[in-house]
Amino acid sequence: MSSTAQAVHHEEHHQSFFERWFMSTNHKDIGTLYLSFSFLMLFVGGSFAMLIRAELFEPGLQLMQPYFFNELTGMHGLVMIFGVIMPSFVGLANWMIPMQIGAPDMALPRLNNLSFWILPFAFVLLLSTFFMPGGAPAAGWTMYPPLVLQGGESIAFMIFAIHLMGISSILGSINIIATILNLRAPGLDLLKMPMFCWSWLITSFLVIAVMPVLAGAVTMMLFDRFFGTNFFNAAGGGDPVMYQHVFWFFGHPEVYIMILPAFGVISEIVPTFSRKPLFGYKAMVYAIACIAFLSFIVWSHHMFTVGLPLGAEVFFMYSTMLIAVPTGVKIFNWVTTMWRGSLSFEVPMLWAIAFIVLFTIGGFSGVMMALVPADFQYNQTYFIVAHFHYVLVGGALFSIIGAVYYWLPKWSGRMYSNFWAKLHFWSSVISVNVLFFPQHFLGLAGMPRRIPDYNVAFADWNMVSSIGGFWFGATQLIFVGVVIHCVFFSKQKAAARVWEHAYGLEWTLPSPAPHHSFTVPPVIDDSQLAHGDVSH
């Protein structure tokens, strides 16, 4: 560590609590803020899910009025997407990207602070709607008009909260792009970057392109509600379906925003514990780019039953099926990375393996839903609920947890308890399947999504699913324990290279990583990089 960095580090100790956390310009502190915030939100959104599963435990209404149930489903989705998955990936990006590319910090440190602090305020706006006359928005996370326009005072708050979240993630992504393109240490070519950086570089483009589109969609909604326009009213020449097109033009890339960084994380973890370089590095990069491009031309697969013209149905079916090809390439490459490796199964690897399996299952149901006629039977049923929870919980969330287990020792300088971490893993991976697999059956049997009450024929699988849900929810408390123990109480110090075969610049720094990573750009030694050899 250079002397300037030490001096700076020294200075940080004199910061007050307020200065350190509210006025921070440090990528690590801001990363911690992001991760802590999304951790908190995980439990907020999770408690909504627990209530939902409790009401669905058996047929009949036991706990709440149907309207409140609708508030819960919508808010669960919004909180999990904008409050958990997206911010935690930004948090990981904040922590890791500067360390992985040999940068002193993020390119625009003050902006970084702004991007984070918008979020808690946005969620205050959003969550406060529960206490308003008319309750929280109750039209699902997709907020389709005209239904959403029937809401009470919550609408304006919801729309402005979404604007704020949009601003936050756009600014965050601008920062990430600028950091990756501008702050790489000399000699760290783009095609030597860790896959995590690549995945975030491409994700950032998606964010910057589609969050404004969501802003546009909800702005039209705002005008329809408060300023007497007729965007979504056919009597005035508008069209409710137009909202859906604009929304899903955002919405589909959005789901890839939530999974591409996960691809990056998994591509870091699998080679480390296979002790073998990532198979087909370049193909992995191209696959991500390809998926990102295709994600702009598949949006109407969410709308197969709205009455699209036949040609559109067929086009969106083909483009959606096409997206499965690069996705498949990624899965094959991970498996091949493991092939002929020398595998060990530390906690991060367990999560990565579970990711591959669960994400692939979600991909399978995705391909089934891409087939228009089949989707007519799946659309808006529990089958798609199962699909997106496999990709978002088994996929995105598992990768985030895996990333935390992978890098937490680097962040905190201490090891966590292996026993509890493994317990957390096994309990999660079993319960998540108990929770979501039966939802495929329910959907195929015809149970629609977003209903608080159902026919007795659906009772059994719902009960199984609810039991899995409570189990999964309770299991996450172990995670809280593991993290708190590791950060504050663990006595076991972590080495600089926490994992024997972990390569990349972040592992050349001591654990815990110093407050400022690389005040002077490191000299790049290809053999110390995970992808130093770019002959392929």
């Binding site: 910061q15 006025m23 921070s24 310009t25 940068a103 002193p104 910090d105 625009l108 440190p109 602070n113 702004l114 602090w117 918008i118 205050v124 706006l125 005072e153 304006a156 708050f157 402005f160 909260a161 604007h163 704020l164 601003i167 756009i170 601008i174 920062n175 792009i177 600028a178 393109l181 702050l183 910057i208 392109a209 404004p212 589109v213 802003a215 546009g216 969609a217 039209m220 005008f223 408060f226 300023f227 007497g228 326009t229 007729n230 965007f231 009213n233 056919a234 009597a235 005035g236 020449g237 508008g238 069209d239 137009m242 097109h245 604009v246 033009f249 009455g307 400022h516 005040t519 002077v520």
Partner: protein, 291 residues
């Protein structure tokens, strides 16, 4: 102006502005939401407080950055980060407008023809729900929402506005060349002219709105035409307003000699923004007014 250290990427230490900015934005939106929900006084007060906070924050934050810049804190790498920041910000703005253009295209290519009975779907939609409606543009829909109206001709004020904005793009470029050549007088002159052109544009646009509302009965309530027209031109106008304010700030900074031949990123950023606003207008002129 001292020379920045090319090897040290400037990482500012703690700043109070971001958190002030978020509080300002929060109050602004909280106030706006309350106002919209009919809590007028509370809403307006909070909104105004938010707006003032945001303005104060901008003055403070930008002032801070300008002082740093004058001290020579930013090396060329930092400069590149700023450039990337501005580029991608404009990129995101493009997509914001794309959402509304997309809405317009969708409505015009699909919805209105269907409501008017075109194609299989249109035959049903029109035959069973909206008999008698024939697809035209502009339209306020089968229910003639907002009553009959007249749309403005593109060849009056909009054409003049097009010429104004186009020439303002030229003048700002001339000003930029002057800045690079170190010629102060033409810089101040042409930048001032750009501001004048922008302000004139806004004046004419306001006049056009007034005409539409008062004489042509063409309002936000005028069905889908009024909706798309005002949301597109309105957000554009908002951007021109912002752009003009930014140009004024640049003019003041030029007058104070903040920029030199090499270092004038802020000026360039504003010029890019101005060109962007100009291009959006061309699309508007074509798709909203002419076609």
């Amino acid at each position: 102006m001292s020379q920045p250290d090319a090897n040290v990427y400037y990482v500012p230490h703690k700043s109070r502005w971001p958190i002030i900015a978020t509080i300002g934005m929060f109050m602004f939106m909280l106030g706006a939401a309350n106002w919209l929900n009919g809590h007028d006084t509370a809403g307006q007060v909070i909104l105004a407080a938010g707006a003032l906070t945001i303005i104060g924050m901008m003055v403070g934050w930008f002032g801070n950055v300008i002082r740093e810049s004058m001290k020579g804190t930013f090396n060329s790498q930092v400069d590149t980060s700023f450039r990337m920041g501005m580029t991608w910000f404009i990129f995101s703005e493009v997509f914001f407008f794309a959402a509304f253009f997309g809405a317009l295209f969708y409505i015009r290519t699909f919805t209105v023809p269907w409501l008017g009975g075109m194609g299989d779907k249109g035959a049903l939609t029109n035959g069973f729900i909206w008999q008698g409606f024939s697809a035209t543009w502009p339209t306020n829909g089968p229910d003639a929402v907002g009553g009959s109206f007249i749309s403005t001709s593109p060849w009056g004020i909009p054409l003049i506005n097009t010429l104004l904005l186009l020439s303002s793009s030229v003048t700002v470029t001339i000003a930029h060349h002057a800045l690079r050549a170190g010629k102060r007088k033409p810089l101040i002159g042409f930048l001032g002219l750009t501001i004048l052109l922008g302000a004139t544009f806004l004046g004419l646009q306001a006049h056009e709105y007034w005409e539409s509302y008062v004489h042509l009965n063409m309002t936000l309530h005028s069905g889908i035409y009024g909706a798309t027209f005002y949301i597109l031109t309105g957000f554009h106008g908002l951007h021109v307003t912002l752009g003009t304010i930014m140009l004024i700030v640049m003019w003041l900074r030029c007058a104070r000699g903040h920029f030199n031949r090499e270092h004038h990123f802020a000026f360039e950023a504003v010029a890019w923004y101005w060109h962007f606003v100009d291009v959006i207008w061309l699309c508007l002129f074509l798709f909203v007014y002419i076609l």
